[in-house]
Subunit: 190 residues, 2 copies
């Protein structure tokens, strides 16, 4: 992927082009709810820049989408510190579910999944880091924690599955309940 | 969505066009691993039919993809009858995981997610029915079963999440272990 960050200075022309192109991607996705309309000429026209500028900087619509998803899904959810693992996970899952309930978020995620290569999507990289940080904090509190990998499976798994595939709503309340089920199942049985 | 099934007679011209167009979609996805290349003109050229034929029958690339996904992900996995719920679920999860490990399957699923409207993807509709049938059979055996909805959350959730988002492999062995975790967590605690 073309590294756009190296060229970005706040307020510079490069940063302005990046902001305009990212905004254009968001607008086109919101209007079309599909990646089909997201061609580089269409994005360039909407952003008011020359297509060559977009091709040179991002290479392809897939790489552009991945860049937008990386910046959209990074540092957007705060890792809470409520004093308990259950409290932290509940607050965080509620925030992630609320984020996924936004149609624009979902459209960007679906488009990124559709355009990207198999194995990896910028949509959830930061979620894994956040979950790791929550569990690491609990480790420093109590020494005993569930595995991050298993938290990904049983918390993010159901949440993203519902958001993408199901007609069931992935509501914040239900997302909080997943935490209770997960923590109960993780406790050793006597 | 345009109902293509009504027009299909085995061996008829309509069935031949449908088979050629479906095959063309599979080939293009296998080559490009992305939905971007999947335009109706490209599919028509590959299938050796006129683009108008494809537009008239499927309406859009998104509807065509959905039709391909519906036929690809229907009746492809047999609902087992091993005599126990654990045995049935393990066999079935192993089969679904094996199916998802095929790069062509994954490419079709990603493309369908990317092109479809929010809320629903033909990729998993049949999986829900199969899971419902497995649990219904157990109900007739023992009378006590977990909820289908919760089986979807904790079996299909982690499996599809790994297949789409994770760098962890969604291996058949791991998929079988999900069944053990799910059934243990579903049992009432004494």
């Amino acid at each position: 992927m073309v590294d756009a960050s190296a060229q970005v200075r706040p307020g510079g022309r490069s940063a302005k082009v990046r902001a305009a192109v990212h905004r254009a991607v968001g607008e086109l996705l919101a209007e079309e709810q599909s990646a089909e309309a997201l061609t580089i000429p269409a994005v360039a026209a909407r952003a008011g820049v020359h297509p060559t500028t977009v091709y040179r900087r991002w290479g392809s619509a897939a790489q552009l989408l991945n860049d937008v998803a990386t910046s959209r899904f990074s540092d957007d959810v705060v890792v809470p510190d409520s004093g308990t693992l259950a409290g932290d996970l509940e607050r965080w899952m509620e925030d992630v579910a609320t984020d996924l309930a936004d149609p624009d978020t979902l459209a960007l995620m679906r488009a990124t999944i559709g355009s990207g290569p198999a194995g990896g999507c910028a949509c959830t990289e930061d979620r894994h880091k956040q979950l790791g940080a929550i569990i690491e904090r609990e480790r420093s509190r109590s020494g005993e924690t569930p595995e991050v990998e298993s938290a990904v499976d049983f918390l993010l798994g159901p949440l993203y599955y519902r958001a993408i595939f199901s007609t069931q709503p992935a509501s914040p309340d239900w997302a909080r309940e997943l935490v209770t089920t997960f923590l109960t199942a993780s406790r050793p049985r006597s």
